[in-house]
Every structure is written in structure tokens, then in C-alpha cells.
Amino acid sequence: MASLILKRLAESFLSLICLVCAVFFAARLTGEPGKLYLPLTATDEVVDAFNRQHGFDQPIWKQFLDFVVGLTRLDFGESLRRQQPALSAALEAYPATLSLVAVTMVVALLISTLLGCLAAFRPGSIFDRLSTGLAVSAASFPDFWLALMGVLVFSVGLHWLPTSGTGTWLHWVLPVTVLMMRPLGSLVQVVRGSMIDVLSSAYMAAARGRGIPVWRQLFIHALRNASLPALTVLGIQAAAFLNGAVIVETIFGWPGIGRLMITAIFDRDFPVVQATVVVTAVSIFLLNLVVDVLYGVIDPRIRL
């Protein structure tokens, strides 16, 4: 287990380095960084002065060296729009995204477990077909549209939920629901599939033979083994959650890292864009690590 985690850490670190290099060189190769950092209306003199000030007139290998040295000190440079370092802007927005994604993941896992188990209990039943249909269509919703329709019906029409912002638990309902939809589709199908496999195993037949109540069979005996594939999918879907977070945060005015990134992109605040990308990448790698560890906790056979 420890060696697995170490191997994963090394792999993640390598991936992270690749990503950072790609960001650096893409930014330099696609034109003058001065033009990238400054507003489109900046004059040539301003661009030149800016280039000198930030070392963009240096040869590219030296720039890269400086960039890497800055990274080791976790320095992405100053934000061009906010009076603070880019990294602290990204880290300030981070908890909001983290809590949103975490709550959504837990809710998605609970709902998909419930739906998947019940669907697997009687394959081919009406309930099974309904939940499979729901799973297939949930994955096909454009999330931004679902969010707007949610606002239209529940906020504008019925006045049940707030349109955007944070504060009460009511503010969580729409963002969590929208963010959950796409991963939910594959989760339900995975839980259902693995549950059907587990239910046909010998130890489940034994449980039935011993007269254990049905809910206990499903949720205590079978679920533990059936949950492993779901966990894997949850790890794979981490990227999808963050994809969705960008859109959900933008629409619902959620002060998270996705919205920060979009704002930074439109403000042409490149240090912040870089910082958000790296912070997001690190969190995805950490999340996958957590999934690996959880895997070992649930299935002792993997704890080697």
C-alpha cells in the first residue's frame, strides 16, 4: 500500500511538472507575453517597459529558470488585477470549491448507491428501467443549461430557491444538483453492475439462506464489495466534477476557484490563471490519492 502511494505520488509529480512546463511554453510560444498580460489597448512603449520589468526580454531558457525557481518558492507572481499574489487569490477561492465538490460527491455517492442497489435487486423491473433511463439522460444534460432551467423553474417561477450566491443551505440545492448530474449517470450504472455481480455470489446466497432481512443483505453485506468500482469511478470523475464546477460556479456566483479562473481569463490576469491551473491539478492528484487509500480501507485484499 505504502509503495503504491509512493508510486502514485511520483507519477503525479511527474504529470504536474509536464503540465506546468506546457503552461509555461504555451504562454511564451503563442506570442509576446507582454501582450498576453497587458490589456489589448496597451501601447508599444508600455509593452516594452512591462517586458523589461518582468524579464520577458531575457532569453527563454533564463525565463524558464526564473519561472521554475519561482515555483519552488510557490511564487506565481503578483496578480495584475488584485493587490495580492496570484497563489493566495487561488487559495482563498479554493475552500469554496472544495466544499462544493465534496458535498456533491457525497450526495452523488449516496443517491447512486441507493438507486443502483434497488435497480440491481430486481433487474429488468420497472424501477430498474427507470433508474437506468435516468442515469443515461443525466449524463447527457448540458450542465449550464440545466442550471439555467433550474433557476428559471425554482427561483424565478416558484421562488423556492435563491438564484445565486452563498449563505443558507438553500443556496446549495441547485449547484449541488446540477454538479451531481453528469457523474451520477455513470455512478448509478456502475453500482448497479457490480451489485448484480455481488448478488449472484455464494456468500450472498448464504446470507439469503440464513434469513437475513433484505435491506441488511443489500446495504450491509453486498454494498461493501459492490462499492469498490463506484469508488474508482468517483476518482476518475474527479476531473468531471471540476469541469462542472467551472460552469456551476460561474452561473450561481459561487466564489470558488472555477469562477476565479474564468474571471482571470477574461481579465487577462495570467498569473492568476496559472496559479488556478496548478492548484486545480494538485487537488485532482490528491483526490485520486485519497481514493486509492479508501480503496485499501474498504478492501483488505489490496492492503499489501
Partner: protein
């Protein structure tokens, strides 16, 4: 089953697939929707000229389903009096061509690299898989946003980014299938008969890998459409005056309180197309898998043999 299906086409394989399609109601509906979108996007939209951007200020903000204004205002009009229906048709052109091009290109490139990596092994495999891991571990949307910020939001760049984002998926799948196929007896037989690596890859391994790739690509068309519309919604995808479904939702967002039809219909178009692609892909997976095909043929072979097919 027993009564032969009338054959509109000569190709017996095609006929078999059509017969299997008719057994699945949902797949028939999905294929119909997909064909409709394809024809609209690739045939009707290019013939429409500038109908989608034509403004008519007397016809501003007409609600949908008012038949007295004809086809033009059937799905309502926007603030500039442009027809939502015509704009949907024009949007189909971009959405379809972007998603299709990206899916086909990503599938072709990814499969070629994946088979090569799986067959050759060694350093080729190591490098290809590592790059694939890096790209896959990062959200495609964020990656696309980042690079569309650096490049221009031109259609070509969007397609390129979507291809880069999706190629790793095909590399992984093609490599996994190749690794499994490489050790099979018929590959050994071909090799001992003196077949070159190229022949083995294209003639022996590729036909085994292809059904999985096709299924994945069909599914991916929907995923790519969702991605592209998300980009356009955020304002980093297709730029106006070009019409895209995601862009239409973004435009309609400002009037969501008063003109719901501006947001509802384009979103519905994206949803239905993506859903159809998913359903079609599910059908394709079953239809192309000899172990599962009986579900669509209506003849169930011995349950035991079907079970063993599922287990493997």
C-alpha cells in the same frame, strides 16, 4: 426472427444491423434524431444562407408556437427578431461538424498510437501512456479554456484542442485491447507465417479493436458536443456572428426572466443530440459484440453460453 426482413440494401451485414436496430425502439428514435441533426447541420444549414442572422426588428421577442407568423417564428424570435428555429438549424452545422471532426480525428489518431504502443511496447508505450495520463488527469474543459485563452477562439483551434483532449482516451482503450489481442493464437499464427508488424497491426489486431473504438467514438460525439457547447457558453468557444447552440443559451441567459424560449430550445437540442448519441452508442456496443448480440436478435442461445460470454 423467422420471417425474413425485406432487404432495401444488398449488403447482408448492413441488413443484419438494420434488423437488430428495429428490435430496439429507443435506438430507432435515437438514430432518427441523429440523422435529423446530421441532415440539418450538413445539408439544410449550408443552403439557408444568412436566414439565421437576418434581423427583423418588427418581429422582436415573439413567443414560440404562434402559427400565424409561419415557420420563421415557430420557436420564437430573439431581441433582434432573428428566428430561433433558423438559428438552431445553423447551430447544428457548427456543433455537428466540430463534434464529428474531433471525434473521428481523435479516434483515428488515438487508435493508431494505441495499437502501435500496445504492439511495440518498450519506450514508445511508456512515453505515449505517460502523456496520455497527464492529459487525462486534467479536466478537458479547463485545459481547453487555458489554451483558448492563449490561442484564438477559431473553429480550427477548438477542434484541435478537443482532439488533444480526447486522443488519450482512445490510446488507452486501443492499447489495452491490443495487449490482450497480441498474445492470441491467430496473431501468433500470422507472425509465424511471416506477416510483418504492419500487417499484423492492420489486418489482425485492428479489426478486433475497431468495434470498441467505434462504440466509444459514437459516445464521444455527444461528449464533445457538450464540451463545445460549454466552451461556447463561457464565451471561449465559437465566436459570434457564427451561431452555436451553447452560444445561443449564453445569449438567452440575459432574458431568462422574460424570454424563456431563447434558452430552452438550444439547450434541448444539445440534450437530445447528446442523449441520442449515448443511446446509439449503447446499442452499437451490444450489436457489435457477438456475445451479447442475441439480445437484439431475439434468439436466445443456451443461457450458459451467454453467461460465459458476459463473464469473459
Amino acid at each position: 426472427m423467422s420471417n425474413p426482413i425485406p432487404a432495401p440494401f444488398g449488403n447482408p451485414a448492413l441488413r443484419a444491423y438494420l434488423a437488430m436496430l428495429r428490435r430496439d425502439r429507443f435506438a430507432v428514435i435515437a438514430v432518427t434524431v441523429l440523422i435529423l441533426v446530421l441532415v440539418t447541420g450538413l445539408v439544410i444549414a449550408p443552403l439557408m444562407g444568412d436566414a439565421a442572422v437576418l434581423q427583423d426588428l418588427r418581429a422582436r421577442m415573439r413567443p414560440p408556437f404562434q402559427l400565424q407568423f409561419g415557420l420563421h417564428s415557430l420557436l420564437g424570435t430573439d431581441l433582434l427578431g432573428r428566428s430561433v428555429l433558423y438559428r438552431l438549424a445553423a447551430g447544428a452545422q457548427l456543433s455537428v461538424s466540430i463534434a464529428l471532426t474531433a471525434a473521428v480525428a481523435a479516434a483515428t489518431i488515438g487508435t493508431a498510437i494505441g495499437i502501435w504502443a500496445g504492439y511495440a511496447g518498450g519506450i514508445v508505450e511508456g512515453v505515449a501512456m505517460r502523456i496520455a495520463d497527464v492529459i487525462l488527469s486534467f479536466p478537458t474543459l479547463l485545459l481547453a479554456l487555458l489554451f483558448l485563452y492563449l490561442l484564438d477562439s477559431q473553429t480550427g483551434n477548438i477542434i484541435l484542442l478537443l482532439i488533444i483532449g480526447r486522443v488519450p482516451l482512445y490510446i488507452r482503450v486501443a492499447r489495452a485491447e491490443t495487449l490482450e489481442t497480441r498474445g492470441r493464437l491467430f496473431v501468433d499464427a500470422a507472425r509465424s507465417l511471416g506477416a510483418t508488424s504492419w500487417t499484423i497491426c492492420t489486418r489482425e489486431i485492428a479489426p478486433v479493436v475497431l468495434p470498441t473504438i467505434l462504440t466509444l467514438a459514437a459516445l464521444d460525439v455527444g461528449v464533445l458536443m457538450l464540451l463545445e457547447s460549454g466552451l461556447s457558453f463561457l464565451g471561449l468557444g465559437v465566436q459570434p456572428p457564427a451561431v452555436s447552440w451553447g452560444g445561443m443559451v449564453a445569449e438567452g441567459r440575459r432574458w431568462i426572466n422574460s424570454a424563456w424560449w431563447l434558452t430552452l430550445f438550444p439547450g434541448l437540442a444539445i440534450f437530445l443530440t447528446a442523449l441520442s448519441a449515448t443511446i446509439f452508442s449503447n446499442w452499437l456496443r451490444v450489436a457489435m459484440d457477438p456475445a451479447h448480440r442475441w439480445r437484439l436478435e431475439g434468439t436466445r442461445p443456451g443461457a450458459a453460453s451467454a453467461r460465459s460470454g458476459i463473464a469473459s
